[in-house]
Symmetry: C2
Subunit: 499 residues, 2 copies
């Protein structure tokens, strides 16, 4: 234990808290200029958070700046917890969400970019609080970018080495080699995407406040909406939905590829195997869903959502299919239509999509497409190896051989993911959810998606869960977001042993 550089951990947590508090100061005017009483609660939360941050920062001057693996794991997990614990102060101090389990759930749902909510009526919430909800998504998305670029490859878990091989490196056609510089460029893209979507949504007919919030919730693949009906609120404005679909697609794409695209190197984007599977997968599954909606919608399944067919039946089917498939695959979780109300088969497909995830190096959660590619290719090779056991046939990805170690990491990651999913389903079942809702809530929380099936379907929320089920889902969102290992390794005895 002595070998851990505790001071540098505290110092990082201090910086995290200070940044978080500054965002609360940004939320304050949204309440203040709308003459909401909650303004002062938000301001106080900001002051307290920055004060805590400063204490942690100033009283921990590390003698050396060595960060090793163990410090890395602790910084990531405790960093997200610091965000979540200070981040619920605006809800609690303003009285907007008075209960701690509810406030914690809503906060971690924000920072983990899950977007599940315990709020029954979102539209009566003060503007400052609504902005703060979106801000937790946006901050969480920033956290994920730095996590993926700077920390996961260092920790070398779940095959993330594979993805980072194509990011920062010494070669000239790669992104700028230094990590801090890479992070800066990706943050710039993140900010640019947010403002671009904000602007387009305003033009397409949203208020500027709603446009800003939805833009923040899109680029982070978060999914909190300022409307009770989520994006189904805009079913009379098809362009709003197409714009959001496009930005969800971008947010679920490796940010390094978006960087190349913005530099005009479109051919580099399509050279990425993950991007091809991701894009054509979404198009393929959407096409299937279009056919289902257009030809086989089950009239006995009625939805509470209003669906004006602005441009006729076919456009309706295309728009909602593309929107919902992209929303689930990118793990954004916005809702334009309730997929559980199309027909049985659509529910099954969407449940399977709960396990795809978007691209590595994006803000999306879940298993991620690159892992599926490697698993799929390895499965085919297993058949070859069954015939020719002594042949050495490596998995090839992006034209290069993938080391056996990385394939092994990825297979293990997926098995641990499925194992946690099954145990979590059984646990949520025990905590009172019915069978289908338990499967849905577990898959959705772990994959940071948001809506699920059963009693937590796209038109429901998580308000009715028991307190223990809310804590448990909060935990699932956290471990899902941090690629399982980062959190769970802290529960192993050998982590705390001196080596």
């Amino acid at each position: 234990m002595n070998s851990l550089n505790i001071k540098i951990i505290y110092r990082f947590l201090g910086i995290t808290a200070i940044l978080n508090g500054l965002f609360m100061f940004i939320a304050f005017p949204f309440s203040f200029f709308n003459e909401e009483n909650e303004a002062w609660g938000i301001l106080n939360a900001g002051i307290i958070t920055i004060f805590i941050g400063l204490l942690l920062y100033l009283f921990n001057k590390p003698k050396n700046t060595n960060i090793q693996k163990k410090e890395g794991y602790l910084i990531v997990t405790l960093g997200w917890l610091t965000l979540s614990i200070t981040g619920m102060l605006p809800y609690l101090l303003s009285g907007a969400i008075p209960s701690i389990p509810d406030a914690f759930f809503e906060t971690i749902s924000g920072y983990s970019t899950t977007g599940s909510s315990i709020l029954k009526d979102i539209e009566i919430m003060p503007k400052g609080i609504l902005f703060w909800r979106s801000a937790t998504h946006w901050i969480g998305g920033m956290g994920i970018i730095v996590l993926t670029i700077a920390i996961l490859p260092l920790l070398g878990i779940g095959g993330m080495q594979l993805f980072m091989a194509e990011a920062p490196g010494p070669s000239a056609d790669k992104l700028h080699p230094r990590i801090t510089d890479t992070a800066k460029r990706l943050y710039l893209i993140y900010v640019v995407l947010t403002f671009a979507e904000f602007f387009l949504l305003k033009v397409a007919g949203m208020t500027w406040f709603d446009a800003l919030n939805h833009a923040m919730a899109t680029v982070s693949t978060g999914g909190f909406s300022t409307k009770n009906a989520s994006i189904a609120h805009y079913n009379h404005l098809p362009f709003v939905q197409y714009i959001i679909t496009f930005f969800m697609l971008v947010a679920g794409t490796n940010f390094v590829l978006t960087y190349f695209a913005l530099k005009g190197k479109i051919q580099k984007v399509f050279q990425s195997e993950e991007f091809r599977y991701y894009l054509f997968g979404i198009i393929g599954v959407s096409s299937l869903i279009i056919i289902l909606i257009y030809h086989f919608q089950d009239p006995s399944l009625e939805t509470s959502i209003n669906h004006p067919k602005v441009f006729g039946d076919l456009e309706y089917a295309i728009r909602h299919s593309l929107f919902m498939v992209t929303s689930v695959v990118t793990t954004t979780g916005f809702v334009s239509a309730d997929f559980t109300m199309w027909n049985f088969f659509a529910t099954g497909i969407f449940f399977a999509l709960f396990f795809t995830g978007g691209s590595a190096g994006s803000t999306s959660g879940g298993v991620k497409v690159v892992r599926h590619i490697v698993m799929l290719k390895n499965s085919f090779l297993e058949f070859k190896k069954a015939l020719h056991p002594n042949a050495i046939i490596p998995v090839r990805y992006d034209g290069k051989s993938v080391s056996q170690t990385i394939v092994f990491n990825i297979l293990s990651f997926f098995i641990i993911y499925m194992f946690i999913f099954i145990m979590a389903s059984v646990t949520l079942n025990l905590l009172g959810l019915d069978f289908v809702s338990a499967l849905g809530a577990a898959a959705s929380s772990l994959g940071n998606i948001g809506p699920a099936i059963g009693s937590v379907s796209p038109v429901d929320n998580f308000a009715h869960l028991s307190t223990s089920a809310k804590w448990f889902c909060s935990f699932l969102m956290l471990i899902g977001r941090l690629e399982l290992f980062t959190v769970l390794i802290l529960f192993t005895p050998f982590f705390w042993r001196k080596n």
Copy 2:
């Protein structure tokens, strides 16, 4: 293609058909002495089957007796298909099951020891046909024993090398080294277990006919019953249920261990890590279910099964919990009570148990306990490796290091299993089953269990499935029973390439 030794494949299929026909001759007197019209259909089926078998055998004199991997795969898959195609003749020719998809489903459900049925009323079936149903289980169980001992290790798939390492070998305390000799000994155990259970069930109050059929369906972990209510028919005879529970437990145990147990070497049985996990796993989960039944049975969930509480509430809870947990883990699929009617949580636990499977080297299907042990241990090691990436820490099983290749095979097997499960659920969803029933039917068919959840729950049957869903489930039962690879490899292009 020329390189394939086609003649020896045909010759093996001929032997298979002849053996199958002989069992039909055994079924004949059950009908004949009960003066059933169906007797002649069964006899004709036997004559035709043996005639086909003789043709295949006599007209294929192979020049050499070389069997290589490709012949191995073909013999196994085509062998099961030969059984199933000839095996449906008694149903078709007697008119007991007139439709081909139904007859094929019932037959492959028999040989794959799944035990799902399309019969709505079992008790009106002629005795000869009921015996034939049980016989398909019993033959299927014999097939699995020879498959596991002689063929799977040769093909080296899904980590089965690991299990066979402890079966036939040169060491003195191992089973007799020669494979044919091993097979003979295990068949002797199989026969002895069947007669022992037959005798005990008769003593406990079954008719001799029902005792024989249930014994055959138990030792093969098949699960066809001669009663509509399955073993719930005997809810007034607790000892019948305890006897069946015990024999299910034995049938799900590695037959090599049963051999040692019968030789008096009980300590060797408990030295097996798989057996310890298997036994204590069943006891642990049963204990949990006992608590659920005893304290938390949901009174709003009503079952159609009659449950006389012969020895009071506690014994009732213990008996049904042990029975149903053992039935699902061993993939037997007998039903004493409808687990979906205890409470939500029990359904979740049983669904998770659908993926355990019994022991390798038993007649049970599914993933198998040994694979779970290796996956679980490997998962823990992945956490260690995340901290110490250069340390070489092998998975240990039964006190020995498991080679990385075998661990890799097992991880891949499980991922392919889950992948097929998900695709199968979506497909069954498409073929008209609702979400829960599709998950249940896919898991149950692939794991050769029998009853499932939803509209194919323990008190339902598969009669209401569409014809295409029946064909699809038949396919799932076949590939599940033959450890996936054996069948699926025939669909790869490289299998059919000359090497």
